[in-house]
Symmetry: C2
Subunit: 400 residues, 2 copies
Amino acid sequence: MNAKKKGLAPVAGFRFVGLAAGIKKKAGALDLGAIVADHPVPTAAVFTRNRVKAAPVRLAARRLRNLQARAVLVNAGNANAATGPAGEDAALRTTALFAEALGCAEGDVIPCSTGVIGHVLPIEPFERAMPELVAALGEDATTFSQAILTTDKGPKVAERTFRAQRRDYRVLAIGKGAGMIHPNMATTLAFAVTDAPLEGTALRAVLRAATDATFNAISVDGDTSTNDTIVLMASGKAGGKPLTGPGERAFEAALTEALGEVAQAIVADGEGAEHVARIQVEGLRSTKDARKIAETIATSMLVKTAMHGCDPNWGRLLAAAGRAGVSFDPDQAEVTIGDVAIFRDGATLLDAATEKRAAAVMKRPRYSITLRLGGGPGTAHYDTCDLGHAYVTLNADYRT
Amino acid sequence: MNAKKKGLAPVAGFRFVGLAAGIKKKAGALDLGAIVADHPVPTAAVFTRNRVKAAPVRLAARRLRNLQARAVLVNAGNANAATGPAGEDAALRTTALFAEALGCAEGDVIPCSTGVIGHVLPIEPFERAMPELVAALGEDATTFSQAILTTDKGPKVAERTFRAQRRDYRVLAIGKGAGMIHPNMATTLAFAVTDAPLEGTALRAVLRAATDATFNAISVDGDTSTNDTIVLMASGKAGGKPLTGPGERAFEAALTEALGEVAQAIVADGEGAEHVARIQVEGLRSTKDARKIAETIATSMLVKTAMHGCDPNWGRLLAAAGRAGVSFDPDQAEVTIGDVAIFRDGATLLDAATEKRAAAVMKRPRYSITLRLGGGPGTAHYDTCDLGHAYVTLNADYRT
């Protein structure tokens, strides 16, 4: 959705801001944003599993051990990654500045950074921007959704409502990312806020489940960044008791939908991507097995180039499935593209007419590829995009 | 080396042949070859770990359980993969034809196929070619080295001699493969013969070690094929007792060198490849850890596109290392390209002059990238090539 045109409906208990602080090279580019709760609220986060973690990721993880925060401070244009002790210091100082301006504890400000790697985050832009950053806080998250972008084509926002305890609750999810597509401009960031009441431990459990079903099931190029972070905050302002049981599950469903929409927008924004395919894998012994195969197919360069060429290449799909390290019987495999079956019982079904129909499906911006590999209960999916010349052009460019 | 011009020196106890049987579409293209020993000799093989194995791979694995064979029958142009029971039958029938023509047991003929997937291997070209295939057998392996190629730019041959038991022994290695680069034209095949005497079990152990150090440490695009096979035969014709101890190790060294040369030629032949880099990883707790990191870097699309752009992008190298699932301290990391250090003690060393020097190294056809990630004893290497537009063009082409 286009956040610019219509603005975003508020979520009770949260204010947002986004402005141009001069962190990005381009003059006037929005590059600093914040989400601020009225007071410290239950907050959970998931972080990159990469062993090389940026300074803000390490600081955020430490600060969120108590599952509580007042604010998230996000900058684009500089990832503050691989910056050693000076980077740690910069993360501490910039969040201290914001805590002072807000009048809250430093430990209640969560830092997120995205942008170029290997340069220590400069403090000065934060010092200069701080008065405006607090003064401009408002209910509309639109400028925030713009200020966190790097190589993205546009903002990525999704809204959901869900019902529990006879109330309507709201979920707002905002993300950025287009794969690790541009030299050193890595990172997926996502932020979700809700006016529902939840305790920190429930929040963490729901976020992990929702992340597994969404952000952990997408691939642009298989690389993970030093800064990937998803933060979830719950103000409880819409009233009621902390959600558990069916209410918690309703929240999880709404959050999964919202994060899923943002994640899909990130895959579709992969540079050079013209097609997004959902790799659906079924019939394995376990979900874990199905997931391994789906991920291997989704990150195969040969599958992704075949997608680019709209080539219903079942050989590459099966060969990728075969090297996932999971046991299955290829002679029982069934491969379907959209609604066109192209392989069954150990042999291809492709004749000229079928091939034409399958290729037509692959010309669509979105379609599914389904591999049924046995009779087991394990299923999983993984969203991926095609690999085209634009990816090579962008990523082979000399670092700027 | 160019096998065409000067011919290949014989290896006592083996004859070779390569001819045009009409399996490939292109008229007159060499596409059928064989290696024949004077009688059944110790033979070992390693096969693709892909769960989707072609019919010839399954048959070859069964027949080599006794570690003995008389001949290898290799065709290019058709992989006989994903062909179900009809494919099994074709593998059986074609090898039976050759066994009959040679006058040996069917079980002593090892089939290898490479080419398009999903089409049952036709028998007729084999029937027609059989008299000539046997009649044309000779000591020079040149036509054989040509007949096994698919999208390769040229033959890949390496020769070594080694000394043991006061004798000079010869090793000849012949391979094909250019990554899974062309639609459905997959597969790495390699064949090595020696006139040294070895028992089957020793042969198998030596082949596994040599393969791990060579073919299992190269990557064009991270995909493995349904048909990958390496066969090693020992005639013993140069005399002496079966090699053990130091003699066996001398053979392993020579075989590793020969297979290494063929493997490097395959990486350099990756379509669109302009650069081959040896990813050298050092200082880990174990070889296994070092290998995991080397492999993750070598198959990273972001690293491979940075190679294409001659970009000394340490951020991508470290980020790829970081997601390999191995523990190391990034603040102790040291990254060197050729002899140019670009990252040390958690910070980049790149200034304009250093960057220029590192980029100059990356313009070479071959260079090394070394990551020292701690003080441990674990080291490993992995050879990889750059990812350029030619790869996308070739692989996104509609299947022909």
